[in-house]
């Protein structure tokens, strides 16, 4: 049982899991209360455009994903605020466009890009030392931002118009939130893949919301739940020899429905 901890890739995966839990719990809570789950999905999928571009140009795919997801996050925020079109339609277009660009760049790249699947579904073997530093950096950035701007983020999430009316600077919180979502999504892609990111971002926060009506508690609880889901998913996938990202989301999703079900029953 304990030999799981002597394997370097498992050590990296477990440590990485704890690090991304911090960002996922906090940012997931903001995404859920601001009802921006769809934008988060758009960011995750358009990140594939960055992966493809990076393969084509020959630089690290994670850096490509990082740049493109931040750009698409800010773009979707801008379009949501300024476009006359329905914002969910616009987000859907950016979502698909990002993926299409990724696929085309991969087509154009000579030779077979072997670990592209790991970006779609995640790979625990893929977590490098550099990835861990990146995850730690994002965790610290997210934590610091929320500590410094908690009152503004709470007010902006609750009633954006009112908070901007009280303090004009609050209008930048939309972009700040979306940049943090982009960074969080990119580091999570390593672990669960871009297709499953949304689940890991929203499930812990949604469960946490059922047990508290205080945002700070919700964030803390969501961090804890993410850590439990990721760790148990990693261990289960190690012993069962199954894809880790899918295992993590399976555990999280089942827990979600069990909790909703039991609360329903106890309410009746």
């Amino acid at each position: 049982m304990l030999d799981i901890l002597t394997q370097t890739f498992m050590q990296h995966a477990l440590l990485g899991g704890l690090l991304i839990s911090v960002a996922a719990g906090i940012i997931g809570s903001l995404v859920v209360i601001q009802r921006r789950v769809f934008i988060a999905g758009g960011i995750a999928h358009s990140a594939y455009g960055g992966v493809g571009l990076a393969y084509y140009l020959g630089f690290p795919p994670l850096i490509g994903a990082l740049i493109v997801s931040v750009i698409s996050g800010v773009l979707m925020g801008y379009l949501e605020r300024h476009s006359k079109e329905r914002s969910d339609t616009v987000i859907g277009v950016v979502w698909a466009l990002g993926m299409a660009i990724g696929v085309i760049f991969v087509d154009l790249t000579k030779g077979y890009a072997i670990d592209l699947m790991s970006f779609l579904f995640g790979s625990i073997i893929a977590v490098s030392r550099m990835d861990l530093w990146l995850m730690a950096g994002v965790a610290v950035l997210v934590l610091l931002t929320v500590l410094l701007l908690f009152k503004n983020l709470l007010a902006y999430s609750f009633d954006p118009e009112f908070s901007v009316l009280m303090d004009k600077r609050n209008k930048w919180l939309l972009y700040l939130t979306l940049i943090l979502v982009s960074l969080t999504v990119v580091v999570m892609i390593r672990m669960v893949g871009l297709i499953l990111v949304i689940a890991l971002l929203t499930i812990p926060a949604s469960i946490a919301e059922k047990f508290t009506k205080k945002l700070s508690t919700m964030m803390g609880l969501a961090i804890l739940l993410s850590a439990v889901f990721i760790t148990s998913g990693l261990i289960a996938s190690y012993f069962l020899n199954l894809t880790a990202g899918a295992m993590i989301v399976l555990i999280a999703g089942l827990t979600y429905f069990v909790i909703i079900g039991t609360r329903r029953l106890s309410n009746n």
């Binding site: 009802r35 908690f150 009152k151 118009e161 009112f162 908070s163 009316l165 609050n170 508690t217």
Partner: protein, 252 residues
């Protein structure tokens, strides 16, 4: 020198090709209890949001006294029913912009919020309750407290008495009157003036165009202009107290 704090000239607003507000002109003076009534879809909420600068006018101008401190009470029904926030935290949001952007609220802010919640008649034990668990009347009062703590010279209210029970309605109306007597200017849009009719100093009817005579009298031509039908209005009980008074005058 007039005490005009807001001057609106030929204001028009178009949204996705539709004219929502057309050539509105009116002024709000310091100390006014200004009420705009009108049917649903007549542009009342859009008018408030345009005055607040949340919606850009397509033509015309809005001149607002420099440095005017503004309070805003939106319709509470628009809020997410699951949002994790307490009544006290919501009221506290009115203190944004009063301290440093990066630091939390100060003791002084908290004292002010407690006082405002007391002023609007909320019992202390519900300060810590989730906002989502409160009744309509309580939510409305929390939002009024949130507007009060920003030390406003003028408060904009969007349907403050909609979907709350008659008793709360009466209390909220008296609260506005008390504020107004303290010198706070009230600008309210509503389809139901019942609870505040006796406090009004200026009234207008809005249905795309504003029917306004710079007085507190609601004349039948204003109502007819906005609603297109006098009888319909009375049967809905809107503004009947004011209208009844006029009718009695005519009868006598």
């Amino acid at each position: 020198m007039s005490k005009k704090i807001i001057q609106v000239k030929n204001l028009s607003v178009e949204l996705s090709g539709h004219t929502i507000l057309e050539e509105l002109s009116f002024g709000v003076e310091s100390g006014d209890f200004f009420v705009v009534i009108g049917p649903n879809g007549g542009g009342k909420t859009i008018l408030v949001k345009t005055l607040l600068g949340l919606i850009k006018p397509s033509s015309g101008e809005i001149i607002i006294k420099e440095g005017l401190r503004i309070g805003y009470v939106p319709q509470f029904v628009l809020f997410d029913v699951n949002f994790p926030v307490s009544a006290f935290e919501v009221a506290m949001m009115g203190r944004q912009g009063h301290g440093s952007f990066l630091s939390g609220y100060k003791t002084n802010d908290k004292k002010k919020v407690s006082r405002a919640l007391e002023d609007v008649g909320l019992a202390e034990e519900i300060y810590r309750h989730p906002f989502s668990d409160l009744s309509g009347g309580q939510k409305q009062r929390v939002l009024i407290a949130r507007a009060l703590v920003s030390d406003p010279e003028v408060i904009f209210l969007d349907e403050p008495t909609a979907s709350i029970d008659p008793v709360s309605n009466e209390k909220v109306g008296q609260l506005f009157s008390k504020l107004n007597k303290k010198g706070v200017t009230i600008f309210m849009v509503t389809h139901d003036v019942g609870a505040v009719s006796q406090f009004i100093t200026k009234i207008g009817c809005l249905n795309r165009k504003l029917f306004f005579h710079d007085s507190k009298e609601l004349s039948t031509d204003m109502v007819q202009g906005a609603y297109g039908c006098y009888i319909d209005l009375v049967s809905h009980g809107v503004a009947h107290r004011i209208l009844d008074k006029k009718k009695h005058h005519k009868d006598a």
